[in-house]
Structures are given as structure tokens and as C-alpha cells.
């Protein structure tokens, strides 16, 4: 299946930005069952400064704001050919050791909330337990946009009882790591059934299971990723896999507007 993606992020500022940098991880990752047919990233209002592959094998670009801009537009687009892998990404690759993915981070530290969930998890294998874990997190945190905060930790989201895909993924990571399994955050695109316009980029989690390698879990939709899921960046948590991160000087207020279309070509 071919997916055509057009992702526009438009930032507008209340006063001109004197200086700042923007880090972009928007190029789909080399992944089994996911081939990039073509892809391009253009940015208006900023100049490209660096391009490299990071420790998670993410394609990273750094831009600096053009002096005095009040608008920054990032347009990422292309076509990706997807083949169904039943949610299995496969063997671990790259120099980052597997143990790195067992490290808890600020966002994924397991506390009482995670331990309560873990106590009820059932299954005869790691894979079964992970599926059960995903279902239990889905039940514990109601998907609700606009009410959670980007800085929330896994425990914050559990305490609130609601959150977005980022929160679901963080709780899954915290629990999977507490089970002793390597786990990582994935940011990417999802084509929701029957609709071309998507409200936002998506996030899910992957855990490393002996014998299978990395396996994806989308807690928010209670399934494992299929051909509608395009992997873009990975990391230990949101902060490492965020599609766009920035550091800006000046006090300008920021407004962000996302237009995302994911259309099926065949």
C-alpha cells in the first residue's frame, strides 16, 4: 500500500523572533516493510544548519530562525510504500545497545500507578503480557485531547486518568521497562480509516521481545501497527523522538497550526 503524506506545521509569533534554532526529525526511518519512494522537507523562515543521523538512527536536521521572522512553516511531504509486518519491526539494529532501552527517563519512571497496572498484567509469554499491558493502559487512561500537558510523566497521566497518544506510549514504556524489557517511543504518521485529513502526528511504543525483535504497540488504538503506520523517529521517550523541538530567544507568544493529510494511493 502506498501512502502520500503532506505535513505542514505553521508557527506564528506575536513579535519578530531575534534568534533561535529548530531541530527537525521528520524523515521516515529505514524500516522493514516501509520504503520511502520520495520525500522532501522545506522550511520557510529558517535556514538549514546541519543534517546528521543520531544515536537512534534518526535523520535529524537543524535550522536557525531567519532574523526577525514572525512565521515559520515546515513542510514535510512524500510517498511511502508500506507492507504489512503484523506489527513486527524486527531485529535490533545500530550501535545503541539494547540495554539503553531499559533505562527509565523522567517521562517514563515507573511509580505506584505503573506498579498497580503491572500487578494485574497476565499472560504466558512476554508478547501476551505486553498485549495485556497495552489493553490495561488503554482502559486506565481515556484518550482525550486538549486536557493533558506535554511535560506530563507516565505517572502524571495515570493519576489524571486521561491523556493523548504520548501519555499512552510513556506509560507503556515505563511498565515494559519495569518488566525488564527494552522499549522505545515512536513518533510517526497514522492514516485513520476513511479519512485523509489527520488531526495530528501520532505516537506509539515498541518493545523488544526475545525471538521477534522489536514489536509495535499502539495503546491509543488498542492494536499493533499495520500498513497505515509510518515510523518517523524513535527515542527513549517523547523528548528524543519529537518531530520538532526548538530553542528560541525573545518573549514572542507562539501559535502552532498543523495540516496533515495522509492519503492512500493504491
Amino acid at each position: 500500500m502506498r501512502l502520500a503524506i503532506s505535513h505542514i506545521t505553521r508557527y506564528s509569533y506575536s513579535t519578530p523572533v531575534p534568534y533561535g534554532v529548530q531541530q527537525i526529525k521528520l524523515y521516515p526511518k529505514p524500516t522493514r516493510g516501509q520504503a520511502v519512494i520520495n520525500w522532501s522537507i522545506t522550511v520557510e523562515g529558517a535556514t538549514q544548519e546541519a543534517e546528521f543521523t543520531d544515536h537512534h538512527r534518526n535523520h535529524v536536521m537543524l535550522f536557525s530562525f531567519d532574523q526577525g521572522v514572525t512565521e515559520l512553516v515546515i513542510h514535510s511531504q512524500g510517498v511511502v510504500e508500506m507492507a504489512d509486518q503484523a506489527g513486527i519491526v524486527g531485529p535490533h539494529e545500530g550501535l545503541a545497545p539494547l540495554w539503553l532501552f531499559q533505562r527509565a527517563t523522567e517521562h517514563t519512571r515507573a511509580g505506584k500507578g505503573c506498579r498497580d497496572i503491572l500487578r494485574s498484567v497476565e499472560g504466558d509469554s512476554d508478547l501476551e503480557r505486553l498485549h495485556d499491558l497495552s489493553a490495561r493502559i488503554h482502559a486506565a487512561i481515556v484518550y482525550e485531547t486538549g486536557k493533558s500537558e506535554i511535560a506530563w510523566s507516565a505517572e502524571d497521566a495515570l493519576a489524571a486518568g486521561h491523556g493523548v497518544c504520548q501519555d499512552h506510549a510513556h506509560v507503556f514504556l515505563a511498565c515494559a521497562r519495569a518488566m525488564g524489557l527494552p522499549a522505545r517511543y515512536v513518533s510517526g504518521y497514522l492514516r485513520m480509516d476513511g479519512q485523509d485529513e489527520q488531526s495530528a502526528t501520532h505516537a506509539w511504543a515498541e518493545a523488544h521481545v526475545e525471538g521477534l525483535g522489536w514489536v509495535g504497540f499502539d495503546v491509543s488504538n488498542a492494536i499493533s501497527p499495520d500498513t497505515r503506520y509510518v515510523r518517523v523517529a524513535t527515542g527513549l521517550d517523547y523528548t528524543e523522538a519529537a518531530p520538532i523541538a526548538g530553542h528560541r530567544y525573545g518573549v514572542a507568544g507562539e501559535n502552532m497550526d498543523v495540516t496533515l493529510r495522509v492519503t492512500q494511493q493504491q
Binding site: 531541530q23 544548519e49 546541519a50 544515536h55 537543524l62 550501535l95 545497545p97 540495554w99 539503553l100
Partner: protein, 471 residues
């Protein structure tokens, strides 16, 4: 145990490196020396070389005591030390490259995986990153102690941002001014070319993006940092810019500094800012001391950061205990310099031993530095021992223990004449793709209190000029 005095030996016979000095000293008038000693102190006050002591109110600025009796090392002694230091620094750099790439030492089972995987000094952002020229530690300070004529031990490797080299230079400068006659009688190897060597070594480590003569700069956290004097001093002596994070921007794919003629790219940044504060975009977002995006420019080959980020994994005190294995693994040679035997308290048997012998041992925090948070068993009160026992049991993995070494002494000049005081030595090692350069001598730190083994300046230690004699 007999104490080894580097001047008087074990039997009161003046040792040969000190013979010429001793002859001079016995002709000197005590009153003149006392006056000279005071004069030296005034000189230090004038040059403004002071040190902020952490943990005291208002970060009080204090003069580090300077002692006029030099510490003298013979050419033969130095030769062996120099070879051992070079070997160690080579091994540290090979280890860092390995740890951030294929981790062969873990695969070979020569270092337990937990030593790296549970170590906060391991910096994931360095995985797969090849620093320009393959150099990780452009500047290393290897802390050595001595217990006998031929017995030197490495106490600590400082591979992050070793400080104190300005004292080495100022101490020599002061001695040359106070006692010029001593330097015509003794053939002392100069240290004054350190800033020139440092600049050359840094320039030789420039990234491929560099065009023409490399531009070097020193990055300081600012005037409130305890070592600000040294940052300014080194920039001045090297003839390069001293910059702070807010002076720098990303321009044309490079890290550039503001000048009167616009932004100018920096090729090599000698940073005296810790990893965590270096880049608010990639590390601690609250840091106001760093440069957002510098890690991106670094990974893309646009700048050399000296020392490389992530070198802390090699000077961690728990890793220290594996240094003999590390040296052998990467150099294929036996280590020339010995390690102090070390008990790792995360191992149960070691912890039991340490708890049973606490009053004889020195216990240090694995990630600590500057002599803070350590226990010196023989000098501790019953209550201090009890308190430390509790800390050890609560977090054994946080501590290592070592025997209390009978550190060598060198006399200091006191009102009542010469008196032996314990010393250590920090030689400074420069590394670039062109090779390794060890400055002959280094910084001798001396415990000014009688019997004290703590030489850290933050704990009231002083310094001495360190002489390495020509053959």
C-alpha cells in the same frame, strides 16, 4: 609504616634530586626566606589568582596557600611516569571510542555491562559519533601519589575538564621571580610553553569543516564559576577569545562568535562547561550557559568540542577500579602505572570487608570529586564512622573504598623551619591527532595541615612548584 619523604628519603639522607637545592637552602637565612614567602603570597594576591570554595556562604574567594619549597623529580623518575601516563591516556581514548561504538570490551566480558549500562556518565548522544581526529580527551589530568622511591600510583583520572593548570604556571612564574638563582644552579625543565602547546594541540584537532588557520576559543560558564580565573588566564595566554554561551550562535552550519566584524566561526571550542549544560536543546533545557544546537553541529562535523562530551564515563571512580584491565585490553601491554587497590562496594564481599575495616580505609563517592563526601577512616570519629556505615548500607553502589596509602611527603616552609607534609601530583596531558604531550611536572598539591592526607584546595590544601630535572 615508614613515611617516605621525597627530600630526606627514609633515613634522613638528602635524596639526589634535592642535593643542589638543599645546599642552597642551608646557606639561606631563615628571616630572608620568611620575607620571600610573604612576598610570594602578595604576588599571588596581586595577580588575582583565587579560588571559590563551594559549600561556604557567599562562595568566599580565597587564596590557595603557596609553599616556596619546590617538589623535585629526577629525569629518570619522570621518564617512567611519562611513559605510564601516555599509555594510560591512549587506553582511555581507545576505551571511549569503543564504549561509544561496538563495545568490544563488554562483549569480551572484560568489563561487566552494568558498569556502563547503569552509569549516568554514559552519554547516549555520543553513540556512533567519531570526534574530529578520533581524539576524546584533548586535556587529561592524571592524579598520582607516591609511597616510596619507585612506587607511584594513579589515584584518579580526570578526563572531563581537569583544572589547576594555571597554578602550575603561576607557581613556576613566582619561583622564577623570587629565586632566579635556583634556576641557574638546577636544570629545571620549563613548563611555560604549556599554553602554546595547548593551542597547537587544540588547533591540530580541528574538524574537516575548518578552512585555513583553525580558530580556537575558550567557553566559560562566566565570572561566578570557581575556575573563571583559569578560563580567562588560559584564553589570554593562548591568545584566543574567551566566550560565554550567549556570545555564540549557529551560523552557516558552524558555531560562531560575535565579533566587531560580524559572526566568525569557531573550529575548536575548549569548553569549561559540563556536558549537561553544554546544549539546552539536546541536554538540560534549563541551561543558560550553553549553545542550543551545538551537539547537532558537532555530530555533523562542524566543530571540535574539547574534551569531547561523554568522557566522564572513563574517569568515574567505579570504572577506575577496572583501569588495569582497560589498559591491557586496548594496549596489549601491562600497565606501567599501578592503580590503588579498590573495593567496589556494590559487590557483597567487598562491602562486608569495607564495613569490617572502615576505620582503616578511605571511602569515596563513585561520582564525587573535589574531596567532598569522602571518609578517611583513620581520621574519623566514632560518630562519623557510624554515620558513614549507614550511608554505605543504604547505597553501597555509590561508594568505593581504598586502603589509606602512606603518601609521600615533601617539606613545607613553616615558621619553625621545614616540616613534612603529604603531597600528590597532577600532570597535564595534551592529546591531538599529532600525538601526546605530557608537560614535565604538573601541579603538586600539598596538605598544609600536619598529618592530613587531604590535598584538595577546596579542603584547605596548598600547592608547590614542581620541578622535573634535565638529565
Amino acid at each position: 609504616m615508614d613515611m617516605f619523604d621525597e627530600m630526606q628519603g627514609q633515613n634522613g639522607q638528602i635524596r639526589s634530586p634535592y642535593a643542589t637545592f638543599d645546599a642552597w637552602l642551608s646557606d639561606e637565612d631563615a628571616a630572608r626566606l620568611r620575607a620571600k614567602s610573604r612576598e610570594a603570597e602578595d604576588l599571588f594576591r596581586l595577580t588575582g589568582i583565587t579560588f571559590n570554595v563551594y559549600g561556604r556562604s557567599e562562595a568566599e574567594e580565597r587564596l590557595i596557600p603557596f609553599d616556596i619549597i619546590p617538589r623535585i623529580i629526577s629525569a629518570r623518575e619522570w621518564q617512567r611516569l611519562e611513559r605510564g601516563i601516555e599509555q594510560r591516556v591512549c587506553a582511555i581514548n581507545a576505551f571511549l571510542h569503543d564504549i561509544y561504538h561496538r563495545q568490544e570490551i563488554l562483549r569480551a566480558g572484560r568489563l561487566p555491562q552494568e558498569m556502563i549500562s547503569s552509569n549516568e556518565a554514559f552519554l547516549p548522544q555520543m553513540i556512533g559519533m567519531m570526534p574530529p581526529g578520533g581524539v576524546y580527551t584533548h586535556i587529561t589530568g592524571i592524579d598520582l601519589v607516591r609511597t616510596g622511591p619507585d612506587d607511584f600510583f594513579v589515584l584518579e583520572d580526570n578526563a572531563r575538564t581537569p583544572s589547576g593548570v594555571s597554578y602550575m604556571l603561576e607557581n613556576r612564574e613566582t619561583m622564577l621571580r623570587m629565586f632566579p638563582e635556583l634556576f641557574s644552579r638546577n636544570r629545571v625543565r620549563p613548563v611555560s610553553d604549556y599554553p602554546r602547546n595547548l593551542r597547537r594541540s587544540l588547533a591540530a584537532s580541528a574538524p574537516v569543516a575548518c578552512e585555513g588557520t583553525p580558530t580556537v576559543a575558550v567557553l566559560t560558564p562566566g565570572i561566578f564559576n570557581s575556575a573563571y580565573y583559569e578560563h580567562a588566564f588560559l584564553a589570554d595566554k593562548m591568545g584566543v577569545e574567551l566566550v560565554e554561551g550567549h556570545d555564540l550562535r549557529i551560523v552557516d552550519g558552524r558555531v560562531a562568535m560575535r565579533t566587531t566584524r560580524g559572526y566568525r566561526p569557531i573550529d575548536v571550542l575548549y569548553r569549561r562547561v559540563d556536558d549537561d549544560f553544554l546544549d539546552p536543546l539536546n541536554f538540560n533545557p534549563d541551561s543558560a550557559l550553553g549553545v542550543p544546537g551545538i551537539m547537532d553541529i558537532y555530530r555533523a562535523g562542524g566543530i571540535t568540542i574539547a574534551n569531547a562530551p561523554g568522557t566522564g564515563i572513563s574517569d568515574d571512580k567505579a570504572i577506575y577500579s577496572y583501569m588495569p584491565e582497560i589498559v591491557e585490553f586496548y594496549t596489549g601491554e601491562r600497565p606501567i602505572l599501578q592503580n590503588v587497590p579498590t573495593w567496589r562496594c556494590n559487590e557483597k564481599e567487598s562491602l562486608d570487608y569495607v564495613l569490617a575495616h572502615l576505620s582503616e580505609l578511605v571511602v569515596k563517592e563513585v561520582h564525587g570529586s573535589g574531596g567532598y563526601g569522602m571518609l578517611i577512616g583513620p581520621a574519623a570519629s566514632k560518630k562519623e564512622l557510624k554515620d558513614f556505615e549507614r550511608k554505605l548500607r543504604a547505597r553501597p553502589g555509590n561508594y568505593i573504598a581504598q586502603p589509606t596509602l602512606s603518601l609521600s611527603t615533601v617539606p613545607v616552609f613553616t615558621k619553625a623551619g621545614l616540616a613534612p607534609r603529604h603531597v600528590d601530583l597532577r600532570p597535564y596531558v595534551l592529546m591531538s591527532p599529532e600525538g601526546i604531550n605530557v608537560t614535565p611536572g604538573g601541579l603538586t598539591r600539598v596538605a598544609m595541615k600536619k598529618g592530613s592526607l587531604v590535598v584538595n584546595s577546596s579542603q584547605g590544601g596548598g600547592t608547590k612548584d614542581t620541578w622535573v630535572l634535565e638529565d
